[in-house]
Assembly symmetry: C2
Homo-oligomer: 559 residues x 2
C-alpha cells in the first residue's frame, strides 16, 4: 500500500507496485482460470468470463449509462462494480492497469445514497466510472509518471480534471499504465512491463496513454483520461479501436499531471478523452468546459463549449461539409490497411450529396517533425535522462530512441528555443495560408469563406505495430505542431486476406519509409483495429466532433 | 528617402532619418513661427496654429469622424490633410513622429473616389487616419525598432494589423517614435531623441509607445497602434491623458512587428490601441477581430468580439458592477495626484446604486515583478545588447537600467526558463484563487458567481515623471504577468495647489518606494494628466470596456 518506498534495488522498488496492483485487482477477477496460453485476440473473453449482467452493463455506451444512472434505472454501485470486474480482467489480458481503487465502491454508494435522498443525479456524470492515466495525480496515491525514481512521490491533491469530473458525479475507479518518459507511442515501463493490444497481443496498445487505450478497447472503461503531446491519446485510441480526441491546447485542464520538463510551453501538452463512443468524447469535453476550469487553471481559455451547429450551411439551409483527404504525408507511406480504410470511407463520402471530397496535399510534414522534435527536448533530454538514471532502471528501447538516438534532441540555448519557436509559427502561418487558399470567396469583411472544413487522414503509418517499433510520429505530431484538434475513430480491422503487402513499392530514401515498409506483413497485424483521424483548425474542437457525427450518416463505424 | 544606409558614424546614419523626418513634416507645418521658448504645456497651441476647419475636424472623436466619413459629409482627403497638419505640429512640439506618409494623400483620394463611385464606404474605418508605432512594418519603409544598427532594414510587407486596418478603410499617415530597446516606459532613442509630454514638456510622454501617446494626446491622431509587454501602451496613454487598451494576449494581430527576442513566449507582447475616445478603443478591437486575423496569424485565438452585454445583471435585470479598488500595490506608494483621482472616482461610485465598491488587497505584487523581470531577458539581454552595440550608439539611461543594471536580467538555461514559467503559472493560479474567493455563491455547475468584476487601480506610481525617471513598472507589468486586459482612461490633471506632497511619509525599505517618493514635488508635475486603470480577468476585454462605459454614468471624464 502507498506510500511506496525507494528500496535498495529498482526491482525491489517496483515489486511493491506490482504486488499492490495484483492485490488491487484480485477481488474483482473471475474465479474461472483464464485460457493458457491466451489467444492473440482477447476481446471475446469478457463475454465468457463476466456475468451476463456485468457484461451487458459494461457493453453499454457512456451516454446510455449516464442516462440510466440519471433516471435511477441503474445504480452507480452496480455499474462501478461491473467496470471494476471488467477492468481487472482487461488488465490480466493486456496489462493496462496500475491499480484499481476500492474507494470507487465507497463513492458509488455515496452517490446512490444521494440519488435516493434527492431523487436526482448529483451532476451530469452521476455515478459514471472514469479511468485515469497514472501520471495525473490522485490525492494520497503514488504518482510516478513511469519513472522508477519517482516512486514514492505522493500526489498532494487530485488533479484538477479529476476534481471537476468528481464534482460532476464521476467515480474514479482505475488508474492506467504509461511508458517510461511518457514519450513513446507505446506503453512499456520497468514498473509494469508492456501493455499489449486487446485485438492482437503481439502488437502494442499504443501510447503513451496505452493503458487507457487497452482498457477502453476491452470495454473495461467507457471513458478514460489521456494526455497527448505528439499522439499519446490518438495512438492508443487508434490502436485499440476506440474514439480519442486531442483537443486544441488550453481548453481542458491538465493541472496536476506530473512529467519531466513541466513549464515548457514550446509544444503544449494537452489532456483529453478516450471513449467507446463519439458522444462520450463530446460529453467529457462539454462537462469540463461547463465547469469553467480557467477560473482555477489560468492558462486555460475562458470560452464556452459550443453546442450550436458549427458546420457550414448549404443554400438549402442544411449543413454540408468539405472534406480534404490526406492519403500519405509524403514522408512515410501508410500500410495497406490504412489506405484501404481511407478508400472505403472516401468511396462512401463521394456519393454523399452534402459532402464534397477534395485532396489535401501535405505541406512539408517532415519539416514539422524537425520543428517539434527539436522543441520536445530543448534541454537535450537532461530532465528525462536524470529521472531515468536516478534509479538504476534500464532505458526502455523507445526511451533511448526518442531521447538518446534522436538527432533533434539537442540541448538548446534560450535564443535557439526562440528561433525554433519562430520557425514553428512561420510553419503554422504557411499551413494556414494553404487552408485559406481552399476558399471559394470572401465575405464582406474580406474573410475567406467556403474553405475545407476538416482533413481526413491516417493516425499513423500503420495500425498498432509490434512492440518497440512505433518510431514514426509524423501522422499525429503534425497536428501537435499546428495545434489543431484531432479526433480518432475506428473504421475496420486488418484482414490479411485483403490487406496484402504492396510488393512493388520502392521506399523513399529517408530511412523511415523503408523501416515502416519492412514492418508490414499482413499476418502480423491480423485483427488489428484500423482507425482514421479527422482534423480541424485551431479551436474547432466542436466542429470536428460535429463533422464526424455528420459523416456517420454515410460511414458505418464499428462503434 | 529610404532605404537608408549605415554610414561611417552612427551620427551620420541617424542624420538621414532626422532629415527625412524634417522633410516629411515640412509640407504640413504652419507658416507662422512657433513661440520661443515653447510653453511647458503645448496643448493649447493647435487651436492657435491650425485653421479653424482643421482644428475642428481633428478635435472630433474617432466615432464621429467614422460616421461622417461613412455618410459622405466629410471626405477622407480633408480629414487626412487636417491630421497630417496637426501631427506635424504635434511633432514640432513633442517630437513624436518618425515620418509622415505622403502616400496617405493618395490613399485618401482613392477612398473618396471609391465613395463617389459606389455611394458607400469601403469598410468600417473608411477614410479614417490611423497612426502607427515605428517598429510595426510598413512595406518598403525603414523598420529599425529604435536601434541605430537596424537602420536600413526595410519591411518586406505591411504588418498584418496594418493590412487589416487598411482593408477596413483606414489611412496610414504617420509613424511614431519609440525608445531604444522598446523596453522603457519612456521614449528616448539616439535616432530621434526624446519624446516629451504635451501637457508638460519637462515630463516624459511615457513609453514605449510614447510617440503614439504624445501624438494622440495632442489630437494629432484619434487612433494609434501601440504595443505593450510591461506597460508600453498604458504608460503613454496615461501620461498623455488618453485611452489605451492592453488586450489579453493573442487577440489582436502583432505579426510584422520587429523587436529583439522575437520568438520568446514567456511574456507575450501584445498590440493595442490608444485613442481620444473609449469608443475608438472598442471600434479598433472589434474591427480587427471581425476580420478573423487568426486565419493569417495562427497563434491568435479564433473567438469573436462580443457585442452583447458582459456585465452581471441584478435582480432588476439591469447590469450592476462590483468594483475592487487597489489603492497601493504595497511596493511603491502612488503619488498624491493618483490617490486623489482614485478617491474622487471611488467617492462617486460609492453613491451609485448599481455599483458595489470593495477593496482589493494586493497579493505579492513584487513577486510578480521578479517573475516577469526574470523572464523579460532570459538570454541575459544578449540580443538587446548586440542590437545596441552593433553600432557605436550610446546606451540610453533607461536601456542600461533595464538590461545592465537590472538584477533580474540574467541569462537563463532552458530549464531555468521552465522553472520561472512554473512560478508564473503558480502565481497566476494564486491570484485567480483570490479573485474566485470574492464570490457570493456558486452556480449549478459549482462555478463561483457574484465575484468582483473589475479592479480599479493606478497606472503607475505617479503621473508622467521627468525624463529618465520611469523606473517602477509594477502597476502595469502586474497585469502582463497575469495576462489580464487593462484599460487606461484619463481622470484629471495635476494641480500643485491640491496635490501637495505627503511630508510625513516614511518610504518602505525596498529602495524603489523612496526613489519614487523623492521624485514628487507638486510644481514639477503641473498640468500632468492623471489617469487610472480598469482591469478584468483574462479574455474579459469586452467586459472591461463595457464596465468603463457603464461607470462613465457616474464619473465625468475629460474625454
Amino acid at each position: 500500500m502507498p506510500p511506496f518506498k525507494q528500496l535498495s534495488t529498482w526491482q525491489e522498488t517496483v515489486a511493491q507496485l506490482q504486488d499492490h496492483l495484483a492485490s488491487s485487482i484480485a477481488p474483482f477477477l473471475p474465479s474461472k482460470p483464464l485460457p493458457s496460453p491466451l489467444p492473440l485476440n482477447v476481446t471475446a473473453l469478457p463475454s465468457q468470463y463476466l456475468s451476463e449482467s456485468d457484461f451487458t452493463l459494461t457493453s453499454l455506451a457512456p451516454e446510455t449509462l449516464i442516462a440510466r444512472l440519471a433516471s435511477g434505472s441503474l445504480t452507480s454501485a452496480a455499474v462501478t462494480t461491473a467496470f471494476l470486474r471488467r477492468a481487472a480482467l482487461a488488465s490480466k489480458l493486456t496489462n493496462c492497469i496500475t491499480e484499481l481503487l476500492p474507494s470507487a465502491l465507497t463513492r458509488s454508494a455515496e452517490l446512490d445514497a444521494y440519488y435516493k435522498q434527492h431523487g436526482k443525479p448529483i451532476g451530469p456524470l452521476h455515478g459514471l466510472p472514469i479511468s485515469v492515466k497514472e501520471h495525473l495525480g490522485l490525492e494520497g496515491l503514488d504518482n510516478n509518471a513511469g519513472y522508477v525514481s519517482w516512486i514514492g512521490n505522493v500526489a498532494p491533491r487530485d488533479a484538477l480534471i479529476v476534481d471537476l469530473l468528481k464534482q460532476a458525479g464521476a467515480v474514479i475507479y482505475a488508474r492506467t499504465t504509461q511508458p517510461q518518459t511518457l514519450m513513446h507511442l507505446e506503453t512499456s515501463s520497468n514498473i509494469y512491463g508492456e501493455t499489449v493490444n486487446p485485438y492482437n497481443r503481439k502488437l502494442t496498445a499504443g501510447g503513451s496513454s496505452g493503458g487507457e487505450g487497452a482498457l477502453v478497447g476491452m470495454r473495461g472503461s467507457v471513458l478514460g483520461i489521456g494526455t497527448d503531446i505528439g499522439g499519446s491519446i490518438r495512438s492508443p485510441a487508434a490502436n485499440c479501436g476506440v474514439y480519442g480526441l486531442r483537443p486544441t491546447s488550453y481548453r481542458l485542464p491538465n493541472e496536476g499531471g506530473i512529467a519531466t520538463m513541466l513549464g515548457q510551453e514550446h509544444v503544449v501538452p494537452v489532456i483529453g478523452p478516450l471513449s467507446t463512443s463519439l458522444e462520450g468524447i463530446r460529453i467529457f469535453a462539454k462537462t469540463l468546459v461547463d465547469r469553467k476550469p480557467w477560473l482555477r487553471q489560468p492558462c486555460l481559455l475562458p470560452f464556452p463549449w459550443k453546442e450550436e451547429n458549427q458546420l457550414p450551411l448549404g443554400t438549402d439551409g442544411k449543413p454540408r461539409l468539405k472534406v480534404a483527404v490526406l492519403w500519405d504525408d509524403e514522408v512515410v507511406k501508410p500500410h495497406p490497411p490504412i489506405l484501404r480504410a481511407l478508400r472505403e470511407v472516401v468511396g462512401k463520402l463521394k456519393d454523399a450529396p452534402d459532402v464534397e471530397v477534395v485532396t489535401w496535399k501535405p505541406y512539408k510534414h517532415f519539416q514539422a517533425w524537425e520543428i517539434i522534435a527539436s522543441l520536445y527536448f530543448a534541454d537535450g533530454g537532461k530532465e528525462t535522462s536524470a529521472a531515468i538514471e536516478a534509479s538504476s532502471e534500464p532505458w526502455r528501447p523507445l526511451s533511448s530512441w526518442i531521447v538518446r538516438e534522436n538527432p533533434y534532441a539537442k540541448a538548446l540555448s534560450v535564443s535557439e528555443v526562440w528561433d525554433w519557436t519562430m520557425r514553428r509559427e512561420a510553419y503554422k502561418a504557411e499551413y494556414a495560408a494553404l487552408w485559406n487558399a481552399t476558399a471559394t470567396g470572401t465575405d464582406e469583411n474580406g474573410v475567406p469563406i467556403g474553405m475545407v472544413d476538416v482533413i481526413l487522414c491516417p493516425v499513423g503509418p500503420g495500425t498498432a505495430p509490434p512492440l518497440d517499433c512505433a518510431r514514426y510520429w509524423g501522422y499525429t505530431a503534425q497536428w501537435n505542431v499546428l495545434d489543431y484538434p484531432a479526433l480518432v475513430f475506428p473504421v475496420t480491422q486488418v484482414d490479411p486476406a485483403i490487406d496484402v503487402k504492396e510488393e512493388e513499392y520502392t521506399p523513399r530514401s529517408n530511412g523511415m519509409d523503408e523501416y515502416n515498409y519492412k514492418l508490414y506483413e499482413p499476418e502480423t497485424y491480423r485483427d488489428a483495429p484500423v482507425s482514421l483521424q479527422l482534423v480541424g483548425r485551431r479551436y474547432e474542437d466542436e466542429k470536428v466532433i460535429q463533422a464526424l457525427e455528420f459523416l456517420k450518416k454515410y460511414i458505418t463505424l464499428p462503434l
